[in-house]
Symmetry: C2
Subunit: 310 residues, 2 copies
């Protein structure tokens, strides 16, 4: 069972249409829910997808355009009716923290949980969250306003102990943690048993990268390199490449080019302009460049820790 | 065809559920759309119901609880992408105007329409809008925070000229407006023709009254007296009458009692607590007291200028 997956709650752009909701995703990591962007209706989508409010601990806002954050007041108010104790941290730029804090302090004075705001500097790459097992980093994107992407990166996992060798060398329990982290073992006779004799390789650590909204920026490829899953906005298809550039957005082909340059395993595109009635063009244009492309859709869940090469 | 009708966009309470959206209604009057309350998702509901953004001119907020106004930032931003010219006025309390103005000034600096805020004093009854043919009045409700209801009242309509008599008495066109408004006619010989000889009665003027959120307040009956349609909140059924009182809400029976005391023509109830899975109880309890009761539901349109007694 997947312990690290992505839920798509909204993948439209600008104004919500009857086809797509504004931007919102939830990264589920070992039972915790980490939200990325919070477009209007996010709380309703959580309900619809059966994502429990009580498991939501962090919300990351990529930039201060309404279609990425207007769901915050409603969601943060609703949490007050459900959350008992616990802390929810909103990671956003200073101005967003000020505006939403004022709003929520007025409308939701009595909160049953602790609400924190953590300030992201949009100008630099930084670690914005450090959990056991996972870090979240932000990095600058290029859009009409300051914007950042996020990388959810699993930390290196412990090596696997070889049961037979642990038994053979009489490894005491007290030593096991160090060995799983790579230490050699010195037995009672003072003899060093090299780590490689006692362990098999650790499980792979997985990475999810989120890039929205951004104009095509080849330098991003280095940052999201070898991600297991990359979400890259694809507001337009090739027919509107000029419009994409002018508005600080990308085409599906450009998203695929980043995926290809970055050697990611899989790409998921979204943030579709409502000018399109289907995403078939986006998808076929992207797949020509990067075959392992999916088109995001509301309600979709994608495992990030997918063991098989697709 | 109805020129004066009510669209139900959301009729749930507190947190949106999978059954109901938070409070939002649109009064359609001769093609203009006048919104009452603007819960999260209002803009999407407008799209869903085919209500054109360009026809929206006024938004009335009954009180500053999130489930009655968190759709404002999204709606007002989306209007900027659709509205070309024109004015949209948000009628709300001073603190709401301050908070939402700040929000929208940050997120939607460049607006293609004029956005005005008009301050409602929650402590008194007042006319908040005077249109040709219609006035909108606010009046205090009793809730946990300051709250007002609204009455949409058609002005008296002109009398109908009797074609035969107009011809017989040689009434010039220049006099017709005054006669339709009730004046007598003095003919060329200086003889007074009484108005009643020249006209038949005006069409009936219709009234819609909105009461949400409020605790049961019999004095409201006088204010909404003889409304053609009364919306009264009915958060709870009889089983939770104590809870209703404690939380500043009403039961369906209490809504019906107001309708009965006020001799309104029809009652529509809504603002259902999400504790209920159906509104059957609300409806049957209300109908026991006031038979002409409807249960509001998203997507419903109700003519206010309904000529027939139902």
């Amino acid at each position: 069972m997947s312990e690290f997956k992505l839920h798509i709650l909204g993948c439209g752009s600008a104004t919500p249409s009857l086809r797509h909701l504004p931007s919102c995703q939830v990264v589920e990591y070992r039972g915790q829910l980490l939200m990325i962007d919070c477009g209007e209706g996010a709380q309703l989508s959580m309900r619809r997808m059966g994502l429990k409010f009580s498991r939501l601990t962090h919300i990351f806002i990529s930039h201060l355009h309404g279609d990425h954050c207007f769901g915050l007041p409603g969601l943060l108010s609703t949490l007050a009716l459900h959350q008992t104790g616990g802390t929810v941290t909103v990671h956003t730029f200073a101005e967003g923290a000020r505006l939403f804090k004022e709003m929520i302090d007025y409308f939701c004075r009595e909160r049953s949980y602790e609400l924190k705001f953590d300030i992201i500097d949009p100008a630099k790459a930084q670690t914005v969250l450090d959990l056991p097992g996972l870090t979240v980093e932000s990095f600058p994107l290029r859009h009409r306003v300051p914007a950042v992407g996020f990388i959810f990166r699993e930390k290196p996992k412990p090596l696997h102990l070889r049961g037979d060798m642990v038994k053979f060398h009489n490894v005491p329990v007290s030593q096991m943690k160090a060995i799983k982290e790579g230490a050699d073992f010195i037995n009672e006779d003072g003899k060093t048993i090299p780590n490689a004799m006692l362990t098999t390789p650790a499980d792979r650590s997985y990475t999810y990268a989120y890039c929205s909204d951004t104009v095509y920026t080849p330098a991003l490829a280095k940052i999201v390199e070898e991600a297991d899953l990359l979400y890259h906005e694809a507001t337009y298809a090739d027919d509107a490449a000029d419009k994409a550039r002018a508005r600080g957005h990308s085409t599906a082909s450009e998203a695929a080019r980043i995926a290809s340059l970055a050697h990611v395993r899989r790409l998921v595109i979204g943030h579709y302009s409502k000018a399109y009635n289907t995403e078939e063009r986006h998808l076929s244009e992207a797949r020509r460049i990067f075959p392992d492309t999916m088109a995001a859709n509301e309600g979709m869940t994608i495992p990030i820790d997918c063991r098989h090469q697709l």
